[in-house]
């Protein structure tokens, strides 16, 4: 796992995020979205506004949590297309926090993004700023995933026995689910009843239970990657270096295919190499996120490792819905957190969990990639 790139040599316990950091965070969160996660531009402007009004937010690392800290994981749940019209109520994050504190009988001092990929990696900074709490430098996924079961605390075996959900009108649901699958089922039903979009919080963690149960360093990492994207003259190469990853191919999209079935939008995109990559052809299999890259029938990278398609010139991430014929793109791939490579991690979010009958091989071990 890469060391926290924002650490100063003196290993300060806290960093802070200000309004000026938000463009980099948003750009970086989009990169970690692996093609999904919801568009970042509206979270970005809300968070910038919150930080200007309420001041910067402290970022605290997992190892620096104290016994006074309680962390809770917070995320928006539902359809982004509803979310751009029925925006959230100002009071939702506070409602969640107060009701959770009341139930748990102790103050919540830290908020953690459920997924760093996409808008859910940006919005929590704004909530924390308004609530006067800290943000954990870490998240539940290290990327974006479509299912609530695909979170690090679940892999680590932390029991999910508390969950809270609220909607724009102020309805609050507190749950003690039997397990995550049941939670997902109830949470979806509530989201539909709430008009398609809700705010949810679960997995209250202490300094002790957070160890090994979160993907560490991802908020500062997203800011770092975003800075490389926004300020480097060669953004794609700069990001590959920051991520300790690879540019698999640079080329042009020559085919975009989508099929609906089984509740999933499955698709694939073909990239024909240009310049040094002329003559090469790679195919990306995708659903809401990019999942597998193949070349000459061989799997180069697969989920849970991260694959993001970016604009070859600007380096900005392109979501799966916006992929089009003729776009000049580069495919960035990099390693996931070791937690996802455990047996349990692969069972929950490996290729088989997405319907691909392929064995998982860590991408850095593939021939021809490094």
């Amino acid at each position: 796992m890469a060391p926290n790139p924002l650490s100063t040599p003196s290993e300060s316990a806290c960093l802070s995020i200000s309004a000026d950091d938000v463009p980099a965070l948003a750009a970086g969160a989009a990169i970690f979205g692996t093609g999904g996660g919801g568009a970042v531009h509206s979270s970005r402007r809300t968070v910038e506004w919150s930080l200007r009004e309420h001041g910067p937010v402290d970022l605290v690392r997992v190892e620096d949590l104290t016994d006074e800290d309680t962390v809770i994981m917070m995320a928006g749940v539902g359809a982004p297309t509803v979310g751009i019209e029925m925006l959230s109520a100002l009071s939702q994050p506070e409602t969640l926090l107060r009701e959770a504190e009341h139930f748990l009988g102790r103050p919540i001092t830290v908020i953690m993004p459920a997924e760093i990929g996409g808008s859910n990696g940006v919005a929590p900074i704004g909530w924390a700023s308004r609530l006067g709490v800290k943000v954990l430098d870490g998240d539940g996924m290290g990327r974006a995933f479509p299912e609530a079961t695909m979170v690090a605390p679940n892999v680590a075996g932390v029991p999910c026995d508390f969950s809270i959900q609220c909607d724009v009108v102020g309805n609050v649901s507190i749950r003690k689910p039997v397990d995550l699958r049941w939670l997902e089922r109830h949470s979806r039903a509530t989201t539909v009843a709430s008009g398609g979009i809700t705010l949810a919080a679960d997995y209250p963690l202490t300094a002790k239970t957070a160890q090994g149960a979160v993907i560490r360093g991802t908020v500062s990492r997203a800011i770092d990657v975003g800075r490389a994207l926004l300020s480097s003259p060669e953004p794609v190469a700069a990001m590959a270096e920051k991520l300790d990853g690879d540019v698999l191919i640079t080329g042009k999209i020559t085919d975009v295919a989508r099929r609906t079935g089984g509740g999933f939008v499955r698709g694939s995109v073909t990239v024909a190499g240009t310049g040094q990559d002329r003559g090469r052809l790679q195919r990306i299999e995708l659903q809401n996120e990019n999942l597998v890259v193949l070349e000459d029938g061989e799997v180069l990278v697969s989920v849970p490792d991260l694959i993001t398609i970016v604009d070859a010139e600007t380096g900005h991430a392109i979501s799966t819905e916006l992929l089009r014929f003729g776009q000049r793109v580069a495919i960035l791939a990099w390693a996931c957190d070791p937690l996802w490579r455990t047996d349990r991690g692969l069972q929950i979010a490996g290729p088989a969990a997405f319907g691909y009958e392929i064995p998982y091989t860590p991408f850095e071990q593939k021939s021809g990639v490094r």
């Binding site: 359809a79 029925m86 009108v169 539909v192 398609g196 809401n288 819905e321």
Partner: protein, 527 residues
């Protein structure tokens, strides 16, 4: 004997020039002119109309329609001039309270435009369930509290494009309470889903109202001065027209009509309904796509004067290649710097010292401006020749991006720098260069249909009902814009799947258009 009065004047105001044309019933160009755009805008329009009328002599009495594409609205917003004070009401609280109205606007624009904003109870969820009851008293109290310090009222309800009745009820309530001398503008008339962008567009529209009224009066005066017995229409951002009453009510819809006119005009002049159009100017080339006679639209957010909106406007790809683009002889780089309108002083062809693409074209033998190049050093000749290869590559790439893989579409070339486009491109079936390409946008304005658009989000199972409802609404809007009720029809149905929903859902967007009603009426009465 009744003479058919079927001539149309099309006028398009551009950044540099105001173009005007006269078309006959068959779409033939009888006269055309380019006049400099004036600061007050009306002056250039007057010159353009006057000039083309002069060219057709006595036939001027046959002019029955004037179609206008203008930049008044954009200019007013960008320059922060002549804007009215708006009382902004958003319905749907407590939903959306995380982003108050106009929070993202540049300070100076908000200070000029906003009299006050309120987030009140009301609004709907995606399935039509009311969020909270409509806060009628809240509306009244808010307006009373502004103590008359506003000119217009803008109302934006959550999910109003799908459920417009509540905004209409708010309008009645407001009129009853404050009288009818202050106009009320409703967001569902102005934009699709996307709360912040639609609300912004509605506020901008309300702010443009005062200016809209004075512009329409000025233009009617020009038409009258010329002694024309003609009906005036305005071009909308999607390439359709609206009547003068509609334009006075929805001035914000005139923003961005230029590119749509250019694409439609270029394709019309070359006799195609499906084409890629490239307009090569001095500094950039703008490419667009025509599908079934209408410009393909982009739904990416648009910014006007620093404000985010979501107007449907043509999907334009801009490439930094134009007649004045500078060729760096040392590195071989082509642009993006350009000498722009200073080409006739700085280009090599005109005795200047800057190698430009115009010079490269002249060197390769294109007849440009009837002039010839001085003798050039070998290195420069090589660089200029190589530059044309770069230009071809960039155009090929751009055309390919827009064609989405099709290679059977023609490429229609217009604009002063059109000579830079080679005779053949691999990504297009053929390259067409129609006559009168220089005034393609004015032609586009003149041939436009009257149109309207409506959106509806629905479960996949209910898509037929959603398409029907949106169709009825789009047709009503087209008629309101001036289309002949007997001729109007649905011209486009777009369905976009909605992702991450519990049940499969779609967003349905319907466009209706038809020829203007006036012509049919004139035919009817001239028997």
């Amino acid at each position: 004997m009744n003479v058919e009065r079927d001539l149309s004047i099309g006028v398009d105001v551009g950044g540099t020039n105001t173009d005007a044309v006269i078309l006959d019933r068959k779409g033939r160009v009888l006269a055309s002119t380019k006049q400099p755009t004036t600061e007050d805008v009306v002056g250039g329009i007057r010159s353009g109309i006057s000039r083309v009328l002069g060219d057709i002599g006595e036939r001027r009495s046959e002019v029955s329609r004037v179609m206008l594409g203008t930049t008044h609205a954009t200019n007013a917003i960008v320059a922060r001039r002549g804007l009215s004070k708006v009382a902004m009401i958003r319905l749907g609280a407590p939903a959306a309270t995380s982003w108050p109205p106009l929070i993202g606007w540049p300070d100076d624009l908000a200070a000029q435009v906003l009299a006050g904003a309120a987030m009140l109870g009301g609004g709907h969820m995606v399935d039509g369930t009311p969020i909270t009851p409509l806060d009628r008293d809240g509306i009244r109290r808010f307006l009373d509290g502004l103590d008359g310090s506003y000119d217009t009222v803008a109302v934006c309800g959550i999910f109003s494009p799908s459920y417009p009745e509540q905004e209409l009820e708010a309008e009645s309530l407001i009129r009853e309470h404050v009288g009818s001398d202050r106009l009320v503008f409703l967001s569902h008339d102005i934009g699709p889903t996307g709360l912040v962008e639609r609300e912004n567009a509605t506020a901008l529209n309300a702010a443009l109202h005062g200016m809209a009224r004075s512009v329409t009066r000025a233009l009617l005066a020009v038409v009258e001065e010329e002694g024309l017995d003609a009906v005036t229409f305005f071009a909308q951002n999607d390439g359709t027209l609206m009547s003068i009453d509609y334009a006075e009510q929805f001035p914000v819809l005139t923003i961005g009509s230029g590119p749509a006119n250019s694409i439609r005009g270029a394709a019309y002049l070359s006799g195609t309904e499906n084409a890629i159009v490239i307009d090569v100017g001095g500094t950039t080339s703008d490419l667009g796509v025509l599908v079934g006679g209408f410009p393909r639209e982009s739904t990416l957010p648009r910014e006007i004067g620093g404000v985010q909106t979501n107007f449907r406007m043509p999907d334009i790809l801009s490439v930094g290649i134009g007649g004045g683009t500078v060729v760096d002889v040392a590195t071989g780089h082509v642009g993006p710097q350009s000498v722009g309108y200073r080409i006739d002083r700085e280009g090599l062809l005109f005795g200047g010292s800057t190698p430009t693409l115009t010079d490269a074209a002249a060197l390769s033998g294109s007849p440009v401006g009837g002039r010839s190049l001085p003798s050039l050093p070998k290195a420069m000749q090589t660089a200029l020749a190589a530059a044309l290869d770069v230009v071809t590559d960039r155009f090929e790439e751009a055309v390919e991006r827009l064609s989405l893989g099709r290679v059977d579409l023609p490429l229609v070339v217009v604009g002063g720098g059109g000579f830079l486009v080679p005779k053949r491109l691999a990504s297009a079936a053929e390259v067409l260069r129609p006559d009168h390409g220089g005034v393609a946008n004015a032609v586009g304005a003149a041939i436009s249909l009257a149109g309207g658009r409506a959106d509806q989000m629905a479960d996949l199972d209910d898509r037929e009902a959603a398409i029907e409802a949106a169709s009825r609404s789009a047709i009503a809007k087209a008629i309101q814009a001036g289309a002949d009720p007997l001729e109007v029809s649905v011209v486009e149905v777009l369905e976009t799947p909605v992702s991450y929903t519990a049940r499969p859902a779609v967003n349905v967007s319907v466009k209706a258009a038809g020829p203007l009603a006036h012509l049919s009426a004139a035919v009817a009465t001239s028997r």
